[in-house]
């Protein structure tokens, strides 16, 4: 059995969980085993809706893990829970998505089990026959390099799949019934509550950079903090968000939370409008999950232009206001 750890926020399944299930379906097929899923911690509406969505993405069975210290996310409590249910259920592999939480809780589980943990896989091959071992390809350097790795033993593999390595997709045709849900007890030390989320602060409503359908990116070519005004306007017109390159945050023009890249946010919008961005690799690895790219740059030879689907050659300070005007004109059309 392949066990997928579902990332959720108090009962709301996250996109990483759907990606893990999508990735896991292929892996389970390669292993010739069923795919089960575990939902750890309290769900606002009980585990039912989570289980149902997991089923729609291919989970054959769902385990619900609940405990007093699992009232909210806590890396140590989640990791300990995973370690315990793995001991009980004996899966041949445990998979989560390589999101921030996914990698963290799998590392916590691995530390407790003293097993290897392979983060951010793009491809996994189960042991073949007697004396075989797990082999996998995983992300290094934020995606600039891939690593082929093996595990010394054929025992249970702890894995995450790289974020956005696969696009999530439900199984087709949809399963006739939701998967069977089974509660699995865990025995958690109350002290593990020490690292559970204590509070949340919501800074803004609406669309966020990782989930925005349109991201309007600005780079060094924007020239100043004020220069972002037309980009903000375009993003607002399209219901999107503004992102930026590292040069921009280094210059103090935008907060780091707007940075797209290896050390910033990885985005996956329908379209990324990259303006005044040369396209250094550190930025590219954060943007390459975009489904389409439109580059606006004065230099037709800029990396971002070469990598884009479409490009406008010109000064973003002229092109973007013209686009904003054009969008308004079309919207005002009777």
């Amino acid at each position: 059995m392949l066990l997928v750890v579902l990332e959720h926020d108090r009962g709301t399944l996250g996109e990483p969980a759907r990606e893990a299930l999508t990735f896991g379906r292929t892996l389970a097929a390669k292993m010739g085993v069923e795919m089960h899923a575990a939902v750890i911690g309290a769900c606002a509406a009980g585990p039912g809706p989570v289980a149902e969505e997991a089923g729609a993405h291919g989970a054959d069975r769902v385990y619900a893990v609940e405990h007093g210290v699992l009232s909210d996310f806590g890396p140590e409590a989640w990791g300990e829970s995973i370690a315990q249910i793995v001991s009980v259920l004996g899966p041949r592999a445990v998979l989560a998505c390589g999101s921030e939480r996914g990698n963290e809780v799998m590392a916590q589980a691995a530390a407790r089990l003293d097993w290897p943990f392979v983060a951010n896989c793009t491809d996994v091959t189960p042991p073949a026959g007697e004396g075989g071992h797990w082999s996998m390809t995983r992300i290094q350097w934020g995606g600039s390099l891939l690593e082929d790795a093996i595990l010394a033993a054929a025992g249970t593999a702890l894995l995450t799949c790289g974020l956005h390595t696969v696009a999530s997709a439900p199984v087709e045709p949809a399963p006739a019934a939701p998967p069977e849900t089974q509660a699995v007890p865990v025995d958690l030390d109350a002290a593990l509550a020490r690292s559970v989320v204590k509070d949340r602060v919501v800074l803004e409503a609406g669309v966020t950079l990782p989930t925005a359908p349109v991201v309007v990116g600005g780079g060094r070519g924007v020239g100043s903090a004020e220069g972002f005004a037309p980009l903000e306007e375009l993003a607002a017109l399209l219901g999107g968000r503004v992102g930026c390159s590292r040069a921009v945050t280094n210059n103090g023009w935008r907060p780091h939370s707007d940075q797209v890249g290896q050390t910033g946010t990885r985005i996956a919008p329908e379209i990324y409008i990259a303006s005044g961005i040369s396209g250094a690799i550190q930025h590219w690895v954060g943007a390459m999950g975009s489904k389409h790219i439109l580059a606006i740059n004065i230099d037709p030879e800029a990396n971002m232009v070469v990598k884009a689907d479409w490009a406008v050659i010109g000064d973003l300070h002229q092109v973007i206001p013209a686009m904003n005007a054009e969008i308004r004109r079309r919207r005002d059309r009777p």
């Binding site: 290897p116 093996i150 989320v197 509070d199 609406g206 050390t263 884009a308 490009a311």
Partner: protein, 254 residues
């Protein structure tokens, strides 16, 4: 306040990273080296906390003798002590690294007392295993939360912020504790010339520790296949705006 910051020496490559002929390492023959970016922020955060609390910052790294350069860099921006776990420079696996760091920290704490706060980078820039800090803390029996972009010391505890969609989560840990920090928590300062010159006098403690290999082994590194797209040029200057908006309309984002 005693603060420990664990850092990793990594090459500073460009857009294209070359791999050695045997596929086992990044070809760093003509590359510079730097401190992994999350950890550089970790050092800055540690120094700022020490400046506020009157504490002392120790920087610990595992690597070849050349990794002393990263310890000196940390000293040049305000760290006080440097400890090097000396290796032959070949790649280590996460379990091995974690064991060596654990032994080193235990030995440093036995000599100088417990570190109130240990800072790790969220993940290393190169191998990106996402686990060494967690393994070390489990071995030390110390809490750790990753993904931290804000730290406030409050009495005997630490309040840490972690970014989520649309806001942040707050964690409150009693000291001693550990945190995995991310770039963006601060804008690290650059060394001053005097800082650089002073850092040359840093006395570095070198530890010889061999923890033995873990269970994960590197087979080879390689570059992902490059996707070559054919770019359609929509036009020059603002005159191309209608064509650009056509694209948005086709994609249905308008």
């Amino acid at each position: 306040m005693r603060i420990l910051c664990c850092v990793k020496r990594v090459p500073a490559p460009g857009a294209r990273i070359n791999v050695t002929a045997d596929g086992l390492a990044v070809d760093a023959a003509h590359l510079g080296f730097t401190t992994s970016p999350h950890e550089e922020c970790g050092v800055e955060e540690a120094v700022q906390i020490a400046e506020r609390t009157g504490g002392e910052v120790t920087v610990l790294t595992l690597g070849p003798a050349e990794a002393a350069e990263q310890l000196r860099y940390a000293a040049s921006v305000g760290a006080h002590r440097g400890v090097l776990i000396s290796t032959d420079g070949s790649a280590s696996d996460p379990q091995r690294t974690a064991r060596a760091l654990t032994s080193a920290i235990q030995s440093l704490e036995a000599d100088g007392g417990v570190f109130d706060l240990i800072l790790f980078g969220n993940e290393s820039a190169d191998s990106g295993g996402f686990q060494v800090g967690v393994r070390v803390c489990h071995a030390l029996g110390r809490p750790i939360v990753n993904g931290i972009k804000g730290i406030e010391i409050e009495g005997s505890g630490v309040r840490a912020r972690r970014e989520i969609d649309g806001g942040f989560e707050v964690y409150e840990l009693d000291l001693p504790a550990a945190l995995g920090v991310k770039e963006g928590i601060n804008l690290p300062r650059y060394p001053t010339m005097r800082g650089r010159l002073a850092s040359k006098k840093l006395e570095i403690t070198t530890l010889e520790l061999d923890a033995g290999a873990g269970d994960q082994a590197l087979v080879r590194l390689h570059r992902p296949a490059e996707t070559v797209s054919q770019t359609a040029i929509l036009g020059d200057g603002p005159g191309a705006a209608p064509a650009a908006v056509d694209v948005l309309e086709e994609l249905g984002v308008l």
